[in-house]
Amino acid sequence: MFAYIIRRLLLLIPVLLIVGVIAFMLIHLIPGDPTTALLGRDATLEQREALRDQMGLNDPLPVQFMNWITDAVRLDFGDSLFLRMPVTEALFDRVQPTGLLTLYSLSLAILIAIPSGVIAAVRPNSLADRLLMVMSISGAAIPGFFFGILLILLFAVVLGWLPSGGYVGIGDDPVQHFRYMVMPALALGFSSAGLLARLVRSAMLDVLHQDYVRTAYAKGLPERHVVVKHALRNATIPALTVIGTVLATLLGGTVVIETVFNIPGMGRLVVQSVTRRDFQVVQGAVLMVATIEVLVMLILDILYVYVDPRIRYGSD
């Protein structure tokens, strides 16, 4: 177990390095002189030269990369040209809405997926099973922003139950906070709920045909007990492996959903920075999200070994 964790940690280094190279290259992908893109066409030669010096664009590329990555490791992503503040500060100011939104939609997806997946597996081809199928197929096909707009149309415009967009901090007014977050969380989590439910269903179907489940039934245990205690526990393991992918989808989706519901989070900031051509912010956000994703994957991999002792990954 310990050797596995060490090995997994060492594997992290090349991946993070490549993540760094990709994020670094983004600014260097800008065709032509990046200072033109950053300062606009009207900037004087002096202004450009000053910015080149400030950004270190006159140094050789490897030197630039080393400088940049050592700063990035210390969470220094440079300054936002538009906001006139450090990128890290700008991002941390907007972490709360994005983090909470991702958390709510993940919880919502799991809360929907497990019961519906289990019911569908226990009664295959029933009405519930078919409904789940329709939900997961349409969930995979509907764009998050369009689902969000349909929700706004129904719950905000027609029924007037919920606000159509905006954000209230959880510390300011928890009740209002949840009223503002219900629709975004549903819009973001719906497609993942469908995917997870399908996985739970197929994992449950596998498990329900196992000998130990038959034995459990044979010794007269009630169905509810067999399904929850014997089957579900084993069926959650395969579902756990996709949580990392689901989280990546959700984190990416926050960009779109925050724009739909006008939530002042990191995703909204990234989109605004693209229109303002504020590349430092885009680069910093991309790097930060990718790093979070890599770390979450690591934790899930370790958790996976912990939950399922049969897996030893050949390391010990």
Binding site: V15, I22, A23, L29, L153, V256, V260, V270, V274, V282
Partner: protein, 306 residues
Amino acid sequence: MVLTDAAIAGSGKSSTKMGRLRLSSITPASKYYWIRLLLENWVASASLAFLVVMVLVAVFAPLIAPVEPDFVNPLVRLSGPSSDYWFGTDELGRDIFSRVVYGARVSLLVGITVMVGSTILGSLLGLIAGFYPRVDVLVMRVIDGLEAFPGILLAIAIMAAFGAAVQNVIIALSVVYVPNIARLVRGTTLMNSRELYVESARAIGMRDFPIMRKYILMNSISPLIVQCTFVIAFAILAEASLSFLGAGVPPDVPTWGGMVSAGQPRLQQAWWASVFPGAFLFATILAINLVGDGLRDAFDPRSRER
């Protein structure tokens, strides 16, 4: 019975081409058996029919659209669906139906070209990684690195650097979906390269590249085709999201994602400006996914159990 007659006719030496084709189509071992299986699946064939219509709409957009998509008529601003304007008009008085018709062009163009781009690049990487264990480590770390970025975020970042243009959307999304294809091809390559026929091919002196092309890639073709359909769907969804965010195709080009976004501020007065383009987007992605599911079942009927 028709088939049996054709089969008998086809067994003769002087049979027509027609007869022979029919004969081959009834044997399960036929190369095109999967097409029949696909068409027997009514959900998949209905979806395929819908997609064919959408492709025709995109190709013949100028003939189908009643007016130019950019034609501004301030007299009919924000008018609801009617016999003149089937899907209503937007805040400038442009015909939503015409814009939806033209929007199909961008969506399908991006979907198909991204699929081609990421499939070529991804298969190449996957083949090389699966075939040469030494390169594998390097290629897979790059793939891991690319996959660490949520797809849409990476696409936004690339678009931010390149600027808004259709070809940049295609490049950005092709890069984003390379890992998807590369992983699949690497997996099948690893499996196939251990097969006896690859060893035999090597024994008779075939070079690596022809082996990869003829024996390994060709044996991964059916899962690859299924994956390709899903990449088209992902790419259409991603292009729409980029255009919705204003980070995709330039705003003057009508796109479904851009139209949904443009209609959002006036949802209360004119729901049609967002809902119709969104519905077409949803239906197209749904149809592609259903064809993909159908193809998977047709290639491997066992998968239908799940």
